[in-house]
Amino acid sequence: MNQRQKVALTLEVNGRNYDVMVEPRKTLADTIREDCGLTGTHLGCEHGVCGACTILADGQPVRSCLMFAVQCEGMALRTVEGLADGDDLHPMQQAFWENHGLQCGFCTPGFLMLAVGYLEQSPDPSEEELRDVLASNLCRCTGYQNIMKSVRQAAVAMRT
């Protein structure tokens, strides 16, 4: 099959359906960014290492640079654009803001989605578990401690 032959598919992102035409080789990350126009999901390495492209697929944090869009039809996808309710920030966003959990902001969407996805499944993690999970992603600016602080605070807010 010609690599440039496009296929039609429908992706559900943040509760909205996007009808897109993409090459089968196109990654989910590129599709979300270019075809759905949701550029909040960032690409830091395209090797699945940095986690900047982390989104939620059926509630699971996934590296969207390591998936193809054609794999994702029928999945409920959530990206950083779906976290806030208008001007009301999600508790995780609010906690990152209050605790200086970001500097340049490039890794932030990935950390937010990783932490939200994890806490939705495990609302009350130990310090050790939290550190383990957040070690999935890379940040170059913050030295991580304000990210840890933010996620701890958000965990409390999300439980209540």
Binding site: E34, G44, V80, W97, T108
Partner: protein, 772 residues
């Protein structure tokens, strides 16, 4: 009135970044053609031909024959100017050097096309590493650079021979720092947007210094500077790597003009490791002379910096060797200093500044010297520092730098107290009895910040950065826009600058908008680097605010029938001091525009004030302490505690200041323990993914404890000293000294970074072999 300065306000930058509404350069490619570079797969060779697929858009060095070369200049006889072609023409000089550019309608197709371009290269023997480059029989990377030396500078303050003759103890050691990458999480990239109506190009680029990028690209491409607008949108970290000009950005602009369409180049991670700038590939020989009491009498140093294949623009390949030479003495009081510092060219990726430039390595050198002398002389490692740190200010260093007020000894004493060193030593002894190896390491250092034109002029740079301009406008509704030449990219400058201006103008920081990173909207300035923005751009903003306030006071004085000098500004009001008579500042603004007949004579309508600031520079200082545990079986190092006593003068926003320290220290720890760009002997780069390069995650980084001292210095008009780089400068020495302290029973001294498990094991094995 200090209402806002000193408060940890949440950052105004954050809401869009949190909502996914940040706009980075890769978010601006809609409608653009995609450009992909074909890069040299060999480190050295002669191009004999380039085969390109039929009917496709491919540009080579021949197409760009009238563009460039890039020729970064220092006006000094110990620097050899080197030309860098924008696309390689006859020779290639490092793996990853751009040779051709292909253009297609999607990134994927551009990548396919790039794979179909065949570059025939007759390979030459590459020069990899400093020893190979200095071998008398070594091939030359550039014919004009004899002995593969681009910079060869010497300095002798006198008295060194005598000091060594008089010395009670001489300490000599070799130090090595392996090559690092600044590794911003967003790689580089640019979008050159072509406007068919005006034929103007807007270059959106992930850069730190838009104005100089505009000047050099317009020069090289041969277009009037007014036809080029350069914008740094949200930038995903720079750390110096995005300060120097990327040849790729020049190509993007040239291709957009040639094709008359919008063209984008988005660097991938592998390219970033191969072709974006590296840093800190150094080898030093340090010799120190001490008297019986442990006082440092003299230092003799031979500093070698691998600067890679080309010189970076605008700071040149001199940036590392010249800074290493000038700043090596640090905060230690000695005058007899002799140094030779060289920049050696090799067939590897070029160097550029990376957070701290040479200072993480020279600080490691001085702090190792102190610890080695402490061992040799049997003087406690804290005590030997006490005896040598500068205590009287201003202090003129051996290389002529003037240190303003600082708290070198005080920061050390505070750290000793907070750590409880005596208690640690007890714990260390107990642990050793159990076969566990704990160690403590100190690092006391200065961070030269906010240096303006005079400091850069001392390097004889053709392009001399330094000043900052700020245009401050209050609009008729009383809102303020500060247009600045600095170009922040994560440092929170918009928030802290608004706090500063809030206090100067007596208004809420939320009424202040900072405009940066756009050559159409901001006055000429040098961007954000070298821990300078709050000092220099902040200083210019303060001066502009004082002028604006004067004008507002004159209007208020007329309205309130008072003397202008009796008008104070606070909480959005101009009031007559000691009375409850006042007027809203927004009303004054309205008058300045809509009732300008009321303005005092000689006053122009509107509210615009401009100022520039160009200070000589100031010194922040800090003491870092690391406590580590080393597993002698595996060589693994665990950080148990990391303490920072930081003195950066007045803190505008303490939360942001702490964030800079956390991030800086983390990069310093990374350099001390993990990160290393590796080339094999054939010149292939082996570390081209984040998995190979080993940037630390949250699992490797301990809680970083930060305490502040606030020394007030008149070298900075805002009272703020810079602190962007200090964390990275000080941390490696603390960590490496701590490892050496932990391994004292083995007599092991670590003089290399990163101290990886295999290197630590090798040192232990060597020591065990020696003692058998």
């Amino acid at each position: 009135m200090k209402t806002w300065v000193g408060r940890s306000l949440p950052r105004s930058e954050d809401p869009p970044l949190l909502k996914g509404a940040g706009t980075y350069v890769a978010d601006l490619t809609a409608g653009a053609a995609f450009l992909r570079f074909v890069r040299s797969p060999v480190p050295s060779g002669t191009i004999s031909g380039i085969e390109v697929p039929d009917g496709e858009t491919v540009f080579t060095g021949a197409d760009l024959h009238d563009v460039g070369p890039l020729r970064p200049l220092l006006h000094r006889s110990d620097y050899v100017p080197i030309d860098q072609p924008i696309l390689a023409r006859d020779r290639v000089r490092f793996v990853g050097e751009p040779v051709a550019a292909v253009v297609a309608d999607s990134m994927a197709i551009a990548e396919d096309l790039a794979d179909q371009v065949f570059v025939d290269i007759d390979p030459l023997d590459p020069v990899i590493g400093i020893p190979a480059a200095l071998d008398p029989g070594a091939p030359l990377v550039h014919d004009v650079a004899a002995e593969n030396t681009m910079v060869d500078t010497r300095y002798d303050n006198g008295g060194v021979e005598k000091a060594f003759a008089d010395a009670h103890e001489t300490v000599e050691f070799q130090l090595r720092s392996r090559r690092q990458s600044a590794m911003p999480l967003e790689a580089r990239g640019s979008v050159a947007r072509y406007d068919p109506r005006t034929e103007r190009i807007t270059l959106f680029a992930s850069i730190q210094a838009p104005h100089i990028v505009r000047t050099i690209i317009a020069d090289l491409v041969g277009m009037p500077e007014s036809q080029l607008r350069v914008v740094a949108p949200d930038v995903g970290g720079g750390f110096g790597q995005k300060y120097c000009v990327a040849v790729e950005d020049i190509v993007t602009v040239w291709v957009a003009r040639r094709l008359r369409r919008t063209v984008s180049w988005i660097e991938d991670r592998r390219e970033n490791f191969m072709s974006a700038f590296h840093s800190r590939d150094h080898r030093y020989t340090i010799t120190g002379a001490f008297d019986k009491e442990g006082r440092l009498l003299a230092v003799d140093a031979d500093l070698l910096c691998d600067v890679g294949a080309y010189s970076c623009y605008p700071v040149t390949a001199g940036v590392e060797p010249l800074m290493a030479m000038a700043d090596l003495p640090g905060p230690y009081d000695f005058q007899a200093y002799r140094v030779r510092s060289r920049g050696i060219t090799t067939n590897t990726c070029p160097m550029a500044p990376y957070r701290g430039v040479s200072r993480p390595v020279i600080t490691l050198a001085m702090e190792r010297l102190m610890d080695l002398a402490s061992q040799r002389l049997g003087i406690d490692s804290v005590e030997i520092r006490r005896r040598n740190l500068i205590t009287e200010f201003p202090y003129k260093s051996a290389t002529g730098l003037t240190f303003d007020e600082g708290s070198y000894v005080e920061s050390l004493e505070r750290a000793v107290e907070m750590i409880d060193v005596d208690a640690f030593r007890r714990r260390q002894r107990e642990a050793r009895d159990e076969g566990r190896h704990l160690g403590i390491g100190f690092s006391v250092f200065s961070e030269r910040t906010g240096y303006g034109t005079p400091a850069f002029a001392a390097r004889d740079m053709d392009v001399t950065p330094g000043f900052e301009n700020v245009d401050l406008v209050m609009d008729p509704s009383g809102f303020v826009e500060a247009r600045i030449g600095a170009s922040p990219h994560g440092q929170g400058l918009s928030t802290s600058m608004a706090q500063l201006l809030g206090d100067e103008l007596g208004i809420d920081p939320r009424s202040v908008r900072i405009v940066h990173g756009d050559t159409d909207r901001t006055p000429y300035g040098w961007g954000t680097f070298a821990s300078r923005s709050m000092v220099i751009s902040g200083g210019a903003a303060k001066l502009a605010a004082i002028r604006l306030r004067k004008k507002l006071a004159a209007i208020a004085a007329e309205e309130l029938e008072a003397a202008p000098e009796d008008i104070t500004f606070d909480a959005g009001k101009a009031s007559v001091v000691g009375t409850d008579i006042g007027i809203e500042i927004s009303t004054l603004a309205r008058i300045a525009y809509h009732a300008s007949q009321k303005l005092p004579q000689g006053s122009s309508p509107g509210l615009l004030s401009q100022a520039s600031y160009d200070p000589a520079g100031t010194f922040s200082n800090a003491c870092h302490v690391a406590i580590v545990e080393v597993d002698v079986e595996t060589g693994a190092v665990e950080l148990e505690r990391f303490l920072v006593i930081e003195d950066a003068g007045v803190l505008i926003n303490p939360m942001i200041a702490d964030g800079q320290v956390h991030g800086g220290v983390t990069q310093g720890i990374a350099g001390a323990l993990y990160e290393e760009v590796i080339y094999d002997e054939y010149g292939n780069i082996l570390t081209t993914s984040l998995l190979d390069y080993l940037p630390p995650t949250v699992a490797e980084i301990p809680v970083i404890e930060v305490a502040h001292l606030e020394t007030i210095s008149d070298a900075t008009i805002t009272g703020a000293k810079g602190l962007g780089e200090g964390g990275t400068i000080g941390a490696p020495a603390a960590v490496i000294n701590a490892i050496s302290d932990a391994l004292r029973p083995y007599g092991v001294e670590v003089n290399e970074m990163p101290a990886t498990p295999s290197r630590i094991r090798e040192l232990i094995r060597a020591s065990e072999r020696a003692s058998r």
